[in-house]
């Protein structure tokens, strides 16, 4: 039964040794180790939170970037559309103006040509009238043969022509 009987001396030493080791460990070892572990855990938690936040922020930025790109795209389309429209308008306007100008110039030219024609016709009429008067004078002054009449006419016409040529 010796094995089952506790011994006082051993209990005494065990109590002292265990108490000493327990107090040393409880004062110098466990607080340091458990404190470090806890601090590290908290640090990791905060870092994870920060990472999560950063991720969310990056996702937001990406979204924003996409939005900006989409806006720019839309703007581009709008601008191109506007540009095409204004180009068409400018070209159309120019064409219209050119057509108007052309019509105006043509009309002016026609008018001038008509005026000139009128003037030429008027002067030609005057010439013919003069020739007719001279012819009549010649006929009246002498008897002009057909040949002579022909020549006189040529002469008058030549005079007129040279006068016109001057």
């Amino acid at each position: 039964m010796g094995l089952l009987t506790p011994s006082g001396g051993l209990l005494f030493w065990m109590t002292i040794a265990f108490a000493v080791v327990f107090f040393i460990l409880a004062k110098f070892a466990f607080p340091v180790i458990l404190g470090s572990v806890q601090k590290r855990e908290e640090y990791i938690d905060t870092q994870l939170d920060a990472a999560r936040l950063a991720e969310v922020r990056v996702a937001g930025l990406e979204e924003e970037g996409k939005k900006i790109i989409a806006d720019a795209e839309r703007e581009k389309v709008n601008i191109l559309k506007d540009a095409a429209a204004s180009r068409d308008k400018i070209v159309g306007d120019a064409r219209e103006t050119a057509a108007e100008e052309a019509a105006r110039i043509i009309a002016e030219a026609k008018k001038q040509a008509n005026e000139e024609k009128e003037a030429i016709l008027a002067s030609a009429r005057g010439e013919v009238a003069m020739i007719a008067v001279q012819m009549a004078t010649k006929v009246l002054r002498g008897q002009l043969t057909d040949k002579e009449a022909q020549m006189a006419l040529q002469e008058i016409l030549g005079e007129e022509a040279s006068e016109v040529g001057k």
Partner: protein, 349 residues
């Protein structure tokens, strides 16, 4: 490859024949008593017997501290440990009530003095506690040296942190509950003391190898510590459950339930004490008994002795592996049950 295997087999055969040679050269072979040898190891003693070589014992003497009728005496155990020795009227009883203890004769009657000797078990326990203390202080120093919040320790400190964290997270926190911080130092010290002591008990070389956690005094001490931790810090709710539990009044009028509960206060630590003691004691005695097979069969011829040596060795290897598991398991179970008892006493806090 073949040659190596042959050399190995030959060496193994030689080793199997070794105990016979050893026994033949020594005097132990003649009157070897396995029971005595096993009991000698399991029991506490005033000296630390390491081994015997050719009949000469190699012994580490330990201090004997006693207060007899003639006052305090402190002396080395080698003054008293050989047969027939007396010192200051003190001697070791070889039979009777105080077998293997220091006694003195006062008035014709054998009397036990106050005995505070640093026995083998006491030295073994102190050695284990020193190992535990050094392990933790070295680990803590690593943290103190690198006072950084994101410092993750390596080596010994890393190992200790892993062990501490796993015990904290798997046992102490869930079993004790929200108050775990208050009890963690005791529970961790208890776990590591039992674990380290169990492991050291498996190493057969001095200064390890003493039967410390297989000694009833040590387990009694650990159980009393748990008893104190449970009952000194018990909540009001815990004490109400003991003295005035929620049961029909006739179970309380004759204080049947309170009686059972009060007995329960003591049976729980008692179970802790017996479990650890019996497990470690059994492990040590099985391994030693297996070793004894070798020496018991010495006189039965080389063939029987050789084959029994092989069998005994195989079983000893197996038992040592098992004891390795038991070493952890018993420390774990002790800590877990202590945590549960403490946790139950903390309810309603």
């Amino acid at each position: 490859m073949m040659r190596r295997a042959l050399i190995f087999a030959f060496a193994a055969l030689l080793m199997l024949a070794a105990p016979q040679r050893l026994a033949a050269s020594g005097h132990d072979g003649e009157n070897f008593s396995p029971k005595e040898m096993v009991m000698e190891h399991l029991a506490d003693s005033y000296e630390w017997h390491i081994t015997s070589i050719k009949g000469r014992d190699i012994i580490v003497p330990l201090p004997v501290i006693v207060r007899s009728s003639t006052g305090w005496h402190v002396f080395s155990s080698d003054k008293i440990c050989h047969p027939g020795a007396t010192y200051y009227g003190l001697y070791i009883a070889h039979e009777g009530k105080y077998k293997d203890k220091i006694v003195e004769d006062v008035g014709g009657a054998q009397k036990r003095p106050i005995d505070l000797s640093l026995t083998k078990t006491a030295c073994g326990a102190i050695f284990s506690l020193l190992v535990v203390m050094i392990l933790f202080l070295v680990a803590a120093a690593a943290y103190k040296k690198r006072n950084e919040v994101d410092y993750c320790p390596k080596g010994l400190a890393g190992l200790m942190e892993w062990l501490i964290s796993s015990i904290l997270d798997s046992v102490i926190k869930p079993c004790v509950g929200s108050n775990w911080r208050k009890f963690a130092p005791y529970l961790l010290t208890a776990f590591f003391f039992i674990f380290v002591t169990n492991l050291l008990g498996l190493i057969p070389i001095f200064p390890a190898g003493a039967n410390v956690t297989g000694n009833i005094t040590i387990t009694l001490f650990m159980a009393v510590m748990t008893l104190l931790a449970v009952n000194l810090f018990g909540s009001k709710h815990y004490y109400k459950e003991i003295f005035w539990p929620d049961v029909p009044i006739f179970l309380k009028a004759i204080p049947l339930m309170p009686l059972i509960e009060i007995i329960g206060i003591f049976t729980k630590p008692f179970a802790l004490m017996m479990r650890l003691f019996a497990n470690i004691l059994a492990g040590h005695s099985i391994i030693l008994s297996l070793a004894c097979i070798i020496f018991v069969t010495v006189h039965m011829g080389a063939a029987v002795n050789g084959s029994m040596t092989a069998v005994a060795l195989l079983f000893m290897i197996f038992m040592n592996c098992l004891e390795l598991l038991v070493a952890f398991l018993q420390a774990y179970v002790f800590t877990m049950l202590s945590s549960v008892f403490i946790g139950l006493a903390q309810e309603g806090h």
